[in-house]
């Protein structure tokens, strides 16, 4: 017998293609809760025990207020939150403009209280992943409020000429030479792009514009174990599977700066013709606090408008920073 036995999975029912950031978050919450095998009733008991430890005067029911404040949860409440049916958010203008039915399942998304995300994380052993994903969801939700959806946090045009190197070096003090070299390359690319005429008329989404997925970095696979504060460069090979040439594109980090993995706010997506492959490099610094973290990069034009507004994750990388007492685990057994 082979030492690992792969099974071919059965075709699953087609899942909902979520369009609202918090729906992706609640789907993650459900995924991690379901992995425990708990029923919703059991989950409620565990969550309420977790919440009671964190908030000793936890009210039995929601006091009802503008912001959901911590309270004991019911199975009905969990069901509504996980299905995106609690405190339903308005469908983003950009989606409505595309004819999205606001009553459809795909368009549904809840306001998700941070205390509930925290309780899911702790109760179901998510290792900080949901807490980190909350920041991502809030950042993407803010981007989705624009029509078309766009990044507003940090754009290439916000970087004054002559400060490109300093811009990319921010957060990477003490990085080793090969990381600084990549950052300098990115700064050079920013300077070169700023010097050439902008073709803004081409900065619009096009159904013929397709990304054929990305090959992951064998040195930095998802789940890679990284030392606290360690510097690395993750590489992806991303294929242009459509018929639109990729020009003037950046990969924007969807995040709240200061939380989670440190990366530049954007890295260049090299110009790539249809059928070609773009080699992407993104330096990152692991958080100091142990946990599981994810960074997501989404393609966009220099004005921050996303090239693929209907996708959620873009290019994701998940890393694990082990707890301090397990820090001596970095050399794999051989």
């Amino acid at each position: 017998m082979a030492s690992s036995v792969p099974f071919r999975g059965r075709s699953m029912a087609k899942g909902v293609h979520h369009l609202v950031a918090t729906r992706e978050l609640t789907a993650l919450m459900r995924q991690i809760r379901s992995a425990t095998g708990d029923t919703r009733a059991q989950s409620c008991a565990v969550l309420n025990a977790t919440l009671t430890r964190a908030y000793p005067n936890l009210p039995e029911t929601s006091p009802g207020s503008r912001y959901s404040v911590p309270h004991q949860v019911t199975t009905g409440y969990l069901s509504k939150v996980e299905r995106g049916a609690n405190a339903t958010l308005p469908v983003p203008e950009a989606l409505r403009a595309q004819g999205m039915d606001e009553r459809s399942d795909a368009a549904r998304g809840s306001a998700v209280p941070p205390w509930l995300v925290w309780a899911y994380d702790v109760a179901f052993g998510a290792d900080g992943f949901l807490i980190d994903a909350y920041s991502w969801a809030m950042a993407l939700l803010a981007d989705q409020q624009h029509n078309p959806p766009r990044v507003t946090r940090e754009l290439p045009v916000d970087v004054p000429g002559g400060t490109e190197d300093d811009h990319f070096a921010a957060g990477f003090q003490g990085a080793p030479g090969h990381i600084r070299e990549v950052l300098r390359d990115h700064a050079r690319e920013l300077r070169e792009r700023a010097a050439r005429p902008a073709a803004e008329s081409a900065w619009v989404t096009d159904p013929a514009d397709e990304s054929g997925g990305a090959d992951d970095d064998a040195d930095n696979p998802n789940g890679v174990v990284v030392r606290p504060g360690e510097f690395r460069v993750v590489r992806w090979a991303m294929r242009n599977a459509g018929s639109v040439p990729w020009r003037d594109r950046w990969l924007y980090r969807v995040w709240r700066p200061g939380i989670g993995i440190v990366t530049p706010g954007f890295v260049p997506l090299p110009d790539t013709d249809p059928g070609g492959t773009a080699q992407i490099r993104c330096p990152f610094r692991a958080p100091l606090r142990p946990g599981t973290y994810r960074m997501c990069l989404k393609a966009g034009w220099p004005n921050g408008v996303y090239c693929y507004p209907g996708t959620m994750l873009g290019l994701p990388l998940t890393i694990t920073v082990p707890p301090a007492d397990l820090a001596d685990c970095h050399e794999p057994w051989t």
Partner: protein
């Protein structure tokens, strides 16, 4: 809070909804949703709360009563420190309630759902072939976690404790379809001078995400004398996304503290194989 205001106004739920609408509430608000919110089964969206507050003020409800509906936005608490005691208590509560999980009680049905009839049969064959009994594995994990709460379960790393892997790298890499099932079979050799007893493999990181496969958090390690080998089986469901993922296990004592340096790495690659029917 809302219930208290409604009660003070001596209005029924339908009458309260009408009261809010008469005082400028925009959009839809059903009696049923109001009931769920009052019971704590649902929240209003923030924008609806703003409208409700405006309508209450317009309806003459004192501002002091309404102010409580506008608390400071709660913030995210930091994740608790992942200490051995925290890990042990976290997974002990899970192990305690796992037997009542309907999926645990009907693992065959779960396999059938995620992989189909053919693979349910194959998985069953493999379990019998290699004498894998999920109930026995769970019982052993529960025993170890309980032991970890006693002085007898507290371990101390010893010099000379060492793990080596038998078999080649391919044994620890699975290539397949997204969400496919995999059974890893790994042989660990006790390459040191310390007897392995009452030990487990503890998986680092989140239990499952769109990019990470689902594997057990804890896998018991059979007692193994120095120079001998033991066999570990790790059932795995591949990640949802087309990606390359690594699963890392460290070896811990029953109290979930580390016993030996290094880690076991298992790779799951769903990049190359298109999902097929």
């Amino acid at each position: 809070m809302l219930h208290a205001i409604r009660t003070a106004l001596t209005l029924s739920q339908p009458a309260f909804v009408e009261f809010l609408k008469a005082n400028g509430l925009r959009g839809r608000l059903s009696r049923q949703l109001l009931s769920k919110v009052e019971k704590g089964d649902a929240d209003f969206a923030v924008a609806v709360w703003e409208d409700v507050v405006d309508a209450l003020l317009a309806g003459g409800v004192p501002a002091a009563d309404v102010a409580a509906l506008r608390p400071v936005e709660p913030t995210m608490l930091p994740a608790p420190d992942n200490t051995p005691a925290f890990r042990r208590s976290q997974w002990q509560t899970l192990a305690d309630r796992l037997p009542s999980s309907r999926w645990w009680r009907h693992l065959g049905r779960l396999t059938l759902q995620v992989a189909g009839k053919e693979w349910e049969t194959r998985f069953d064959q493999l379990q019998r072939e290699h004498d894998i009994d999920p109930e026995a594995v769970l019982a052993e994990v529960k025993r170890l976690l309980e032991l970890g709460g006693t002085p007898a379960g507290a371990g101390t790393p010893m010099p000379g404790d060492r793990v080596a892997l038998e078999g080649d790298e391919s044994a620890r890499t699975a290539r397949g379809g997204r969400q496919g099932l995999v059974l890893f079979r790994v042989r660990l050799r006790n390459a040191g001078t310390v007897l392995w007893r009452d030990r487990m493999l503890y998986r680092l990181g989140a239990p499952v995400t769109s990019e990470l496969p689902f594997v057990p958090a804890l896998v018991p390690v059979p007692a193994t004398e120095p120079g001998e080998s033991c066999e570990i089986f790790v059932p795995c469901r591949a990640q949802f996304l087309r990606s390359l993922a690594v699963i890392s296990y460290v070896m811990v004592f029953a109290d979930c503290s580390v016993c030996v340096s290094g880690r076991l790495q298992l790779y799951v690659d769903t990049q190359g194989v298109r999902f097929e029917r």
